[in-house]
Structures are given as C-alpha cells and as structure tokens.
C-alpha cells in the first residue's frame, strides 16, 4: 500500500479511528479541564474546556488536604512492591522446579496450579476475612499483601517461559558446581527478564487498581490504597464539588498513566505475553 495515496477508503478509515480516539480520550480531557474550574464554571458552562476562572490551585489544595494523597500513593507503591517481590520470589523457584527438575509431585502440582488459576480473590475473600479478623490483623500491610504472595498465574507464566531455556545451560552450570538456587539466580533469572517484566506489569496494574480486597480488610485511611482512598475522598466530598474531585482523580490516576506512557512498548509486550499465554 502506498503511504501517500489518499483514497476514499483511507479517509473513512482515518476518520473512524480519529473519532473513536477522541471519544476514548474525552474523559481525560474533561478530567484535566474540570480540575481547573471553579464551582460556578462547572455549573454554568460544562462544554467549554478552558476554565474561565483558573482554580487549579484551589482544587488541588482541597484534594491534597481532605485525604492525604501522599499517604495513599505511598501505600499503593508499598503494597504493589511487596506483593510483586513476594510473588516473584515464591513463584520462580517453584516454576523452575516444575519446568526443569524431575520429581513425582510435578504432575499433581500442575493440576493444583491449573485449579488455582480458576479462583479469583472474590471466591476466597470470605474465609480469609474471617481468619484475619480472628487473628486481629485487619488494617495492616500484612492483610493487604498476604493473600497475593502466591500467584498461580505467575507460576504458570514462568513455567512456560522456563521450558524454552535450553537444558544444556543448566547442565553446564551444574557441572560448574552451582547449587539449584545458584542456577536460579545466575542462569534462570538473567534469561527470564522479558517474562519477569511482563509479569511485573500484569501484577502492578492488577493490584494498583484492585478495590475489592482493600475495601474488605482496610477501614481507615492509614492503610488505604489509592482506589480506597478515592472512595473516602468521595464520601468526605459529598455533593457536586467536581473541581476538587477531578483534581483528586487526576493526582491518583497520573502515576500509572505516566508509567504507561513512558514504557508503552513494554506494557504492550507485557499484556500480549501475559494475555496470550493464559
């Protein structure tokens, strides 16, 4: 196809794509625009995108004082980082054993992993909540992180990836006198960065956005994650103060969106890899 040829078909195609993109991006445009509008602007002229009275400072000040945004973002980062580190440290050795070592339990373990893939947190939440309540560990990082330290999806993804690593590499390392842990650290992990990055993106996107579990185990602002904190902010900001609300949503959405825009290629590769392997 000639790049410069501008046929009718191409014009239609581009118009559809541009129109669709405009609709998909519209919420972001209105979010940024409304975050800078004074209450009177919001009520009088909802279609003009440029605020008449610039109120970014006032709205952001409100958003930052009602709920501690830095606290929320810190909790979000801490919880996602802890979850990811535990998931990788626990899933990689298991996946390595299942992919590269011979042992009788491997078949049973494969069945358990397959069963585990079926079960979302929503199905295990009730017993876990009862147990955490009995142990008096609700409202803690432990409660937020513990159920996700095991990622059967991670095991499954790494397992698929490790199978492709040549056995010769592992035999050579063993002949050099490396322990199995040494092999994981110095042979497997350096060869598995694409899978680890893909899994990191999958894991962080899932847990940064999760509302269900934090809503259940956290009931105060100290341990609130970004989605939960935004719910608190909405409750505190009852009524139609959309200026402050949009400022708050802007603050909370920005980190992950910025990360996505900076590392787009990795994101897309990660989604494709984690998606298609599932």
């Amino acid at each position: 196809m000639n790049a410069s040829a501008f046929t009718l078909g191409r014009a239609v195609r581009l118009s559809i794509l541009i129109f669709g993109a405009a609709i998909f991006l519209a919420p972001y445009v209105f979010m940024v625009s409304t975050a800078g509008k004074a209450q009177s602007d919001i009520f009088s002229s909802s279609l003009s995108l440029i605020p008449q009275h610039w109120s970014y400072v006032a709205n952001f000040a409100k958003a930052l004082t009602r709920v501690s945004m830095t606290r929320l973002l810190f909790n979000g980062v801490a919880v996602c980082a802890l979850i990811f580190v535990f998931q990788v440290m626990i899933a990689i050795p298991c996946a390595y054993a299942m992919a590269k070592l011979k042992f009788r339990a491997a078949r049973l373990m494969m069945v358990l992993v397959m069963l585990g893939l079926l079960v979302p947190i929503h199905a295990t939440a009730l017993p876990l909540y009862v147990a955490f309540d009995r142990m008096a560990v609700l409202n803690s990082y432990f409660a937020l992180v513990a159920p996700f330290t095991i990622s059967v999806f991670g095991i499954f993804l790494f397992l698929q990836f490790f199978r492709a690593i040549p056995d010769d590499l592992i035999h050579a390392a063993r002949l050099d006198g490396m322990s199995e842990l040494g092999i994981i650290g110095r042979v497997i992990v350096p060869n598995a960065w694409p899978a680890i990055t893909a899994f990191a993106i999958f894991s962080v996107v899932a847990h940064w956005n999760d509302l269900y579990w934090p809503l259940i185990v956290v009931s105060n602002q100290t341990y609130a994650t970004p989605p939960l904190g935004l719910l608190y902010f909405r409750a505190a900001e009852a009524g139609d103060d959309y200026g402050a609300l949009m400022a708050a949503t802007l603050i909370i959405t920005t980190p992950l969106v910025a990360a996505f825009l900076l590392a787009q290629k990795r994101f897309v590769e990660g989604i494709t890899m984690t998606g298609l392997k599932g």
Partner: protein
C-alpha cells in the same frame, strides 16, 4: 493450557532412581514447597471452607453456627435481590463482552491496515486499561451528570432528550456498560493487534490468487480463521471480566437505584462484608465460582475442537 498439563506428564520418575535423581527430586520439592504451602493456605483451603460455610448459618459476630444443609441455596432461588443480581450481571455481560470484542477487532483491523499514527491510536485506546478504574468512574459520573454533565449538555445542543444516565433504574445498567466497554476495549485491541501481526502475509496473497478479491472475502477466508485462538481467549477473558464487574457499581451506584444495578460481586460484598452473613454469602460465592468453572470448561471444549493452523 491443556498442552501444558500433557507436557507435565513425562516428568514422573522411573521406579529405580539413582542418588542424583533422588537429590534432584528433593531439591525440586524444597524449591516448590513455599509456593505449594501458600497455594494451600490462601487458595485451596479457603475454597474448601467457603463451600463448607455455604451449608451453615454462620454470621460473623455470633458465637457458633449450625449446618443447615441446602437451606441457603433454596433461599437464594427465592431471594429477589440475588435473582435480580444474577439477571443484571447477565445483561451487563451480554452487552459489554460482545461489543468490546467486536469493537476491538474492528479497530485492530483498521489500525493494522493504516500506516500512520499506529502507536498513537494504540495508546489512545489502551489508556483506559492503565487508568485507575475507581478514578475514571468518578470522571464518568461527571460526564453522565444529568444537569451539569457535558454529555447531556451536548445532547441539549442537538435538541435530543437528556436521560438521567446513572440515576434512573431504566438506564443505569446501560450507562455502566458504556464505562465497561470503554475500559476493556484497549486490552482486547492489543491482543487482536498481536494476533493480526502474526498472520503471514503470504496467506493474503494466496487467497487473492485463489479468487478472494473483496476485503470481506479476505477477512472470512484468512483473518477470522487465523485469529481463532486469539478470539477464543479474548472472548473468555472478556466474559469473565464482565461477570466480575464491581468497581464501577461500588463507586457510582451502590447497586441502585432500586437495585437496578445490583450485580453478583456487589451482592456478595454486601451480604458477606456489610451484613456479615458469612454462610449466606458463601453460598452466593459458590454460585459465582460455579459460573467461572463452567466458563473455563466451555473454553477448553471449544479450544479442543478448534482447528490449529500453526
């Protein structure tokens, strides 16, 4: 996934094993022990307990519980809230899954055949996937606002009727579906783009030689069959994600107005974690889990019957 199970089978050891083999097996068990313990504690045991709870009248805050057999399940069938919750989840899924699949497929084919702005379009449609849904739901609430919202302002300019999007029981489910579609198209789109890129160009030339002249013929004879595995995966994941709708409902409607947006996970959340009726909510959870199992089973069945071209 079925292949993975099959591939794991040859790993069973032979009866007489050397010292090296025994050592390897021991190392494997040690390496997989943490994962297996956590898998048992956080997944298998809780699922067993939830099934058990489903047969009890357990309520958090009360001392004991007794077994009530299938009482919870018979109650579920007459529970108006649960029935409308199942129905609403079905309607939501029936709207969101097909539209987000076909919209993503259409957009992916348009982007694939266009040579300018590819990465811009991909980014634009994918952005909602990377955005915090609770936050973006709040933005949609503003867009949908009946009096000060931009959507109704636009409709008013065109002299069209202005619905009370999230506020009326007749339209709330459709409004939530719009948000659901907006949020999930990008994910499907990226998967379809990867699937389209993997189709060998020669197949289109071959089809052309064989007389497939129109774009529709090329789609019917090459694109659609070659995308089979991708489409199956996208369909399964779209349905499962739609069945799991929760964030937007919790943030925007709390199941209202008049239970018109009561969906499965929200009902489970209310019964189990707000009213603390653990036994009853567990029975609902079992129904939810059964739905997921049936969906996965259907995927396996279709996958096994599917023709593989690669």
């Amino acid at each position: 996934m079925a292949d993975a199970v099959a591939a794991a089978l040859p790993l069973i050891g032979k009866p007489a094993r050397s010292a090296a083999e025994r050592q390897e097996a021991r190392a494997a068990l040690v390496l997989s022990l943490p994962a297996m313990v956590l898998l048992f504690v956080f997944i298998l045991l809780p699922v067993a307990v939830v099934i058990l709870f489903g047969f009890t009248d357990y309520e958090l805050g009360y001392a004991g519980f007794r077994f009530v057999g299938f009482d919870n399940y018979t109650e579920l069938f007459t529970d108006r809230t649960f029935r409308s919750s199942l129905w609403n989840t079905t309607v939501y899924t029936a709207i969101v899954a097909p539209i987000s699949i076909f919209m993503a497929l259409g957009l992916a084919m348009l982007i694939e055949s266009e040579n300018i702005g590819r990465s811009f379009f991909r980014t634009a449609y994918f952005l909602p996937v990377a955005s915090l849904l609770v936050a973006m739901a709040t933005v949609w609430q503003y867009l949908f606002h009946p009096t000060i919202g931009p959507i109704n302002a636009l409709l008013a300019l065109g002299g069209l009727p202005r619905p009370n999007w999230l506020g009326a029981s007749t339209s709330v489910l459709y409004s939530l579906s719009i948000i659901g579609i907006w949020q999930s198209v990008g994910f499907n789109l990226v998967l379809f783009l990867a699937g389209l890129t993997a189709i060998p160009r020669e197949l289109y030339h071959a089809a052309h030689v064989d007389g497939a002249r129109s774009a529709f013929d090329r789609f019917r004879l090459v694109t659609w069959p070659m995308l089979g595995p991708t489409t199956l995966f996208v369909t399964t994941i779209s349905i499962i994600n739609a069945v799991k709708v929760f964030e937007t409902v919790k943030t925007l409607t709390e199941g209202g107005p008049n239970k018109a947006s009561e969906v499965l996970l929200f009902t489970i959340y209310q019964e189990g974690f707000v009213y603390l009726k653990v036994g009853y909510a567990s029975a609902m959870t079992v129904v939810f889990l059964a739905i997921l199992v049936v969906l996965m089973f259907l995927q396996y069945r279709v996958q096994d019957k599917q023709v593989h071209y690669s």
